[in-house]
Subunit: 641 residues, 2 copies
């Protein structure tokens, strides 16, 4: 249920979910509140007055008098009704209240649009059918298999005869049939193409048609996520995720490839990801009290390296120029043959890749949002260490990977961290006091800075002119939080006493440089791909942000630093985990399932790593937001104020 919070004196309203934290809501609304401790309730700075409505608040670090006067700590307040909240004045060094400069960086999220994915039918690639067979007689003593096939084909004379290829099933067939008194349920895997025969993947005694399960698996470099789906109605029954156990052998794909070249390395990595998958399978199965062997179908997507490692394909040449994968369309694989907990007949499908660094996860995302079926020219962006970009529509698609570096995942940033509890995810700076407002994930004590926090910090510092467009701190400013360091200048976000880590959490000029390179690579990628098809940003009808990052990104700020193009905000959408979404759709709808290879074939990959246009665009983008400010008109206007 949505609640409206009306902040005074700024006169800003924001709609949030009931139960949302008041400090987080203020940060989203672009309302600055003094808050050093990330929302942990320790600093006691974020007190606000509830003028109307109700919050559920812990008293925490607040004087009784304040409490009685209607003050609450924003960070400890849960919004349960519509509110009017006023923010206390902040007094300057001269004792006069400081003006509250209206913020321009109010958080704007890209919209989630259900129609992006379209409807999909519950018509899965596997099917259960209950059959009552006539027992054999001397006049009708055809083989057991023939009897079964005859019953499956009954009434369909044009149907191709299903095939039945698993030796173990055939070995068990005579006994399954007789022990079940000739009443069995067959699981049919439908032919790859409409005219191809179905394949019998299991024969179960009795009528088990009410139980038909599929598993969607997103195999990420960091996390493996699984969703168990009831294929009789398309409903999600359970989900689970686990850190990819390969992480012990390298944080990113490049270090995994390096590890795979050690003796036994490939085998180890293969086993580790399978172990992770099995953990996920066991968790979802426990939730539903079913056995892993009850899952009839597994649809997975991962980047090209993850796909290679899962299939024990050596990724060696993915890393060496000219970056050649073993294959993009992965062969039919039996899950059990890989070590995955599954019935021996069950297939594991992998979304096809496009190139060494545009993998099945991207294909799945593009497939999920139906770029390949829409006339609208779309820019599809998945931001990460390897930012993947796709531009196109139903007629053509070009794609590329930009080696953005790990900044958006906290890598190469002094206090960078993944988006988990205690990560600074939102930041405001008071334009006069230069004091920060720190909001962390789960409102814990600050531990570091995650990707969305980093974007907040840089755009706020830029707008407040604490840094210049080259990402250098204004050395003329005299402020306790600004100081020289071994990494050039730095700004202290959180003092050590308020931090979980016991040391000051800072952002340095090296960090700023790394972020600039990362966003520059992404932006140069958009430009290079657009140019390759003779287009400009003006030709884009839509920008789709994939990955969870996309849902949390503050559009204005991302545009402000030059990570996203400065175009109509209404053109931005977020898809969420497109890789998982693609798997779920393919798992549930056979027609969509059959499209998946065509989708990857439609995508033409461009190699950017040795592309001279890309290099010059990249150099030009190493500025905040860009050396060519005509590309960022709204940012130019804001910075000119």
């Amino acid at each position: 249920m949505k609640k409206t919070v009306h902040f005074q004196p700024d006169n800003v309203k924001i709609e949030v979910d009931k139960g949302e934290n008041l400090l987080t809501a203020a940060a989203k609304a672009g309302i600055y509140i003094n808050a050093y401790c990330g929302g942990d309730g320790v600093c006691g700075k974020c007190k606000v007055k509830i003028e109307e409505g109700e919050v559920i608040a812990e008293k925490a670090n607040l004087r009784s008098a304040d409490h009685e006067a209607g003050f609450r700590l924003a960070c400890k307040s849960e919004i349960v009704s519509d509110l009017v909240v006023s923010i206390p004045e902040i007094k300057g060094a001269d004792g006069k209240p400081l003006s509250r400069k209206p913020k321009t960086t109010r958080a704007i999220s890209a919209r989630s649009l259900e129609s992006l994915t379209g409807d999909w039918k519950v018509d899965p690639p596997v099917e259960k059918r209950f059959l009552k067979l006539d027992p054999p007689t001397m006049d009708d003593n055809v083989p057991d298999l023939h009897r079964l096939l005859r019953a499956i084909k009954k009434g369909c004379y044009e149907c191709a005869e299903p095939t039945f290829d698993h030796p173990q099933l055939l070995q068990e067939l005579p006994f399954t049939l007789r022990e079940s008194n000739w009443e069995v349920t067959v699981i049919l895997l439908r032919g790859k193409r409409a005219e191809e025969p179905d394949r019998i993947i299991a024969v179960e005694p009795g009528n088990t048609t009410d139980r038909l399960y599929g598993l969607a698996l997103d195999i990420g470099t960091t996390t493996v996520c699984g969703v168990l789906i009831d294929l009789n109605n398309g409903k999600v029954l359970a989900d689970a995720s686990a850190y990819n156990e390969q992480i012990s052998y390298g944080e990113d794909v490049i270090s995994r490839i390096i590890y795979s070249q050690r003796p036994g390395g490939l085998k180890t990595l293969q086993e580790r990801v399978v172990r992770t998958i099995n953990q996920v399978i066991e968790t979802v199965c426990k939730t539903m009290i079913i056995s892993p062997s009850d899952i009839s179908y597994i649809m997975t997507a991962g980047n090209t390296i993850m796909s290679h490692l899962l299939l024990a394909l050596d990724p060696k040449y993915l890393r060496e120029s000219p970056y050649v994968p073993t294959c993009n369309q992965f062969p039919l694989t039996r899950a059990a043959a890989l070590g995955v907990l599954a019935h021996p007949s069950v297939r594991l499908y992998l979304y096809p890749s496009v190139a060494s660094y545009v993998g099945g996860d991207i294909t799945a995302g593009v497939h999920a949002c139906r770029m390949h079926q829409s006339p609208e020219v779309t820019l599809f962006i998945d931001i990460g260490t390897n930012g993947e970009i796709v531009i196109g529509n139903e007629d053509w698609m070009v794609c590329a990977a930009c080696s953005a570096g790990p900044a958006f995942e906290g890598g190469g940033i002094k206090h960078g961290m993944r988006a988990s509890g205690g990560a600074i995810e939102n930041f405001h700076i008071h334009h006069e006091t230069l004091e920060p407002m720190i909001v962390t994930i789960e409102q814990g004590k600050p531990r570091g800075i995650c990707g969305s926090g980093l974007i907040s910090i840089v755009s706020e510092l830029l707008e407040a002119k604490v840094i210049d467009q080259q990402g250098k701190f204004d050395r003329k400013l005299d402020h306790a939080r600004l100081r020289a360091s071994e990494d050039g200048y730095e700004y202290v976000l959180v003092w050590g006493k308020d931090a979980m880590v016991g040391e000051d959490i800072v952002i340095t000029e090296v960090d700023l440089d790394n972020l600039t390179r990362a966003k520059g690579a992404m932006y140069a990628g958009y430009q290079t791909l657009l140019e390759s098809v003779g287009m400009t940003f003006a030709d884009l009808d839509r920008v789709i942000l994939a990955g969870n990052f996309g849902a949390y990104i503050d559009l204005e700020r991302a545009i402000c630093i030059g990570l996203l193009p400065d175009i109509d905000r209404d053109k931005f959408y977020y898809l969420g985990n497109g890789s998982m979404l693609g798997c779920q759709i393919s798992l549930t709808d056979n027609n969509r399932f059959r499209e998946r290879t065509a989708v990857s074939s439609l995508m033409t990959n461009m190699e950017l790593s040795e592309n001279s246009e890309f290099m010059s665009h990249y150099m030009a983008a190493l500025f905040l937001p860009h050396t060519d400010m005509s590309l960022f008109p709204t940012v130019a206007e804001k910075l000119a104020e």
Copy 2:
């Protein structure tokens, strides 16, 4: 080279191969020569005079005077030129020479007709292709698999893309390509149907197109035979055979089924036949100095029980009414998965069965002789413990198995044995002296009686009226060789002193009874099948005898005892090992290969075991040759003399 032998005083000519033994030639020509010892040279009775021409002879047990006078022991004489040979007179008890009654039982073999099998092309279901690939560049960095497929499809835009399904091959592909400097040979397995894609089953470095091998395997209950074929030219390179190691667990299929029901029995039998196959493979590979993994294709045929056991399908229900196999069309199987010494990609194909007791060996035989493509109404017979019969032509085929019992393989016969060295294979009796002429395989000392010997003995005893049409000895005859025994009466074929076994070799009334049942079952089978399609023997255009037995059978004698129908001898042909022949043809010619399932589908099986028409025909056939002598006009005439 053929040589003519002219026997006097009978004035009978016979054409034989140069090098043939003179005693054997005489026996084939129906010329009686005194000979007790089977051809071992011991009895010294078979002396003949060489009137014209030359033989290479051992002097052996012959007086010098006889030798100088031009006499030779027939059993020790090798025919090297055209001959005129005279047989010495035999004197009766009264000292007068006995007349030489002209024989009617001159051995008539069914003809071998090359056109039965038709031509087959050297166009095998596997193909090797040498490819020079362009090494990848930044402008052309498609995956290795894609590059390979592109090269295979080059110049053929309508070809379906080959599939590539073996994980190990894919895992090795990047290294195979680079280590061979992008010059490789692919082995393609052609699609099941013309429109189906080919399948890449191996990628070898360099150009190996000159080496392409296939293996034809006949998996018999007793013997496993293998033939290695050069698929580049269709030539047979090597062959080998080995006793099926399953024999330790039962001589015939029924005892194998019984053994398979013991704990671990099925597994043991499966392993034993695979071990036998591997022996055969090793032998043919050693001969050609190739490795088993160089074989690209394996085509096998066996009866339904052998096929089930090879695939570890439980044969339990094959033995229980209503005799239901697990399947007739056997699934695609990787040879290595069964334990067969082979490259992991190599498929092992099994000829489809028709029913529990009409197996892939029969399908292969019918396929080899193209019954299914001929307008001529053909009776196809494979005589054995389970005699299989097929009647039909290009429009229809019916088939059945008759449980004839093991008499033709020496089973249930007091001195019965398989057709190997020392087995009596030909027999004549002197119509007045009632003394035998014994010819053994390899002319060794007699050890027992094989199937063709048994047919000779019974027909000779019948024609000489030593037995009557009920198979009972004429008790009025007074002869040293005729005597009562625990099995009724018996005739002494070989006295113990002349035999290898150290006891008299006899034929008993129980033996005669068993043979009568065996041939009666076969004949009743022909009749029942013919009746089922409203035909009689007069409607038959051809009779094809399959199995090695067919080549050795003496038509006149087989007809005389009622094993074969009394029709125009020119209609009889022998095919040889049809099972092996079918495998060789399918292995070499892809078009023939693709027909094999259709052949089995055209055959309609009749169950005779509980069929009342069959039972009454069978009862009527328990007579020599038959109770209805109008069915055997030439035999009736002969017996009336």
